[in-house]
Amino acid sequence: MRKKIWLVVALVLLALFPVVVTDLYIQRIAVVSCIFAILASSLGILVGQVRLVSAGHAGFFGIGAYTSALLTTKGEMPFLVGFIGAIVLTALVGFLFSLPVLRLKGHYLAMATLAFGIITQMVLLNWESLTNGPNGIPGIPYAALFFLDLDTDRKMYYFTLILLLLILWGLHRLYQSPVGRAFHLIREDAVAAAALGVHTVRFKVIAFTLSAGLAGLAGSLFAHYMSFINFDTFSPLESFMILSMVVVGGMQTLLGPVLGAVLLTSIPEMLRELSDYRMLIYGVVLVLVLLFRPQGILGKNTRKQLSK
């Protein structure tokens, strides 16, 4: 019962946020935080629930962003077509990529995903006839629902917030279902899981496809909010930053990636003078968390319990 009260309070606060805080700069941070919260949650499915390394997640983010941007600019399609197209295409790429790659173990899988991230960025840069090369894609239209143009920060905030909440609800339900349980069994001991009838490769592919699709969704939101994208954003460094959000927030929890995204998006903005040191700070924070609290801020302290 207490949990439900907290939930209602949180929702009310979130809903009132842009009404109370009218500073556009802060509203902008809030929207970007929501978008990265979705992106971090998508990586959380892989890294947190199944323990699959993905060191190239910015690649999916980029594929989603570019797909949505191209469909709505060159393709002159409405936002919803771009949005759904981004989700479907990115999920498909994730699915096709995962089939051969998920048979690799540990370090080899990490290297394959890293390569994916690098290759994707290079394709976005060099396929000039499609992606405009280094010039990127300008003039991406606002997101729009049938009746409404999401042309202000406030409208975009509510849209991304609602999407984030729906996604979190869906993931919450998924993680508690037999499919979610299968993810956890694979994470804890894949050999024992297989002996109990879990088709490990199939569930890894499901996780990967779902993760890619959600990352593509975040990419679409990003493109239509920023109205300009180029290859530079979708780099291995960005992949590393998303990974940091997941780890710092608490990779095995539902809300950990969200917290990590909010912290690692908003704090650097508030420390504008330190923007040159942004990557250094991320690196140091990540190492500190891994050393002293590897389960992340929201993670349970099972490390200590397990070592008893």
């Binding site: 279902s177 037999p178 299968a182 050999v191 024992a192 899981a193 297989a194 002996a195 109990l196």
Partner: protein, 238 residues
């Protein structure tokens, strides 16, 4: 394995013994799909299952425990047993997210069955403890409970009595015998504890260097000079 060929009869209690490195666990790995054979075939009830995955073997009715206990350490006792019901769960993603009534019914049923199982194995009091916190004997028992949750026809137990004192191993023998009787299982057991093997098994296979060097009843094995030689002049455990 070296030219190993044998037919496990349904409903029997079979022991698998031999010196360390004889290939006993390797045989278990082959018969549960954890490892693929480089030659030869494996059949279950006449069906050729050579080269299939472990989860496919599980669907054919094979369940196993592991030599070094592979419980899900970070999960509770209840969650470990629930894991055994994976095959019986509703694995549909959309039904799981939106919670249709058939899905909720299915979840209710397997949870009830898991509780029931824990109850009959005397582990219900510890249902919310992390598996890693159980005593060694309880952990071994939990691994067997979890294997039984899959509803198997054959149970492969890899050194289930390892590390147990005589009292605990007697209890284990009782437990396995009960399971065998109640569920009409076929039980195959790797053990170094001769007391357990002699008490429980009707037929014993003796392995050495991957070869099946002898098989027979406990008495025949006890008398056999071939077996004695393989163990270098005597029984390994008093």
């Amino acid at each position: 394995m070296d030219d190993f060929s044998y037919s496990i009869e349904e409903g029997k209690r079979i022991g698998l013994i031999g010196p360390n490195g004889a290939g006993k666990s390797t045989l278990f790995n082959l018969l549960s799909g954890a490892v693929k054979p480089t030659g030869g075939t494996i059949e279950i009830a006449g069906k050729d299952v050579t080269g299939q995955r472990p989860d496919q073997f599980s669907r054919h009715g094979i369940a196993r425990t592991f030599q070094n206990i592979r419980l899900f350490k970070g999960l509770t006792v209840f969650e470990n047993v629930l894991a055994g019901f994976h095959q019986k769960s509703d694995l549909n993603i959309l039904r799981g997210i939106f919670g249709s009534s058939s899905y909720r019914q299915s979840e209710r049923e397997i949870r009830e069955q898991a509780e029931h199982l824990l109850q009959s194995f005397g582990l219900i009091d510890k249902r919310n403890e992390l598996a890693v916190h159980l005593s060694y004997g309880d952990q071994r028992r939990l691994e067997i409970v979890r294997a039984m949750a899959t509803g198997p026809r054959i149970l492969f137990l890899d050194e289930p009595a390892a590390g147990m004192n005589p009292y605990e191993s007697r209890q284990l023998v009782e437990l396995i015998r009960q399971l065998w009787e109640e569920h009409r299982l076929t039980v195959v057991l790797i053990e170094h504890d001769m007391d357990v093997v002699m008490r429980l098994c009707e037929e014993i296979l003796v392995l050495d260097y991957g070869k099946l060097i002898f098989h027979g009843t406990p008495d025949e094995v006890r008398e056999s000079s071939i077996v004695r030689e393989a163990y270098l002049g005597g029984e390994t455990d008093a």
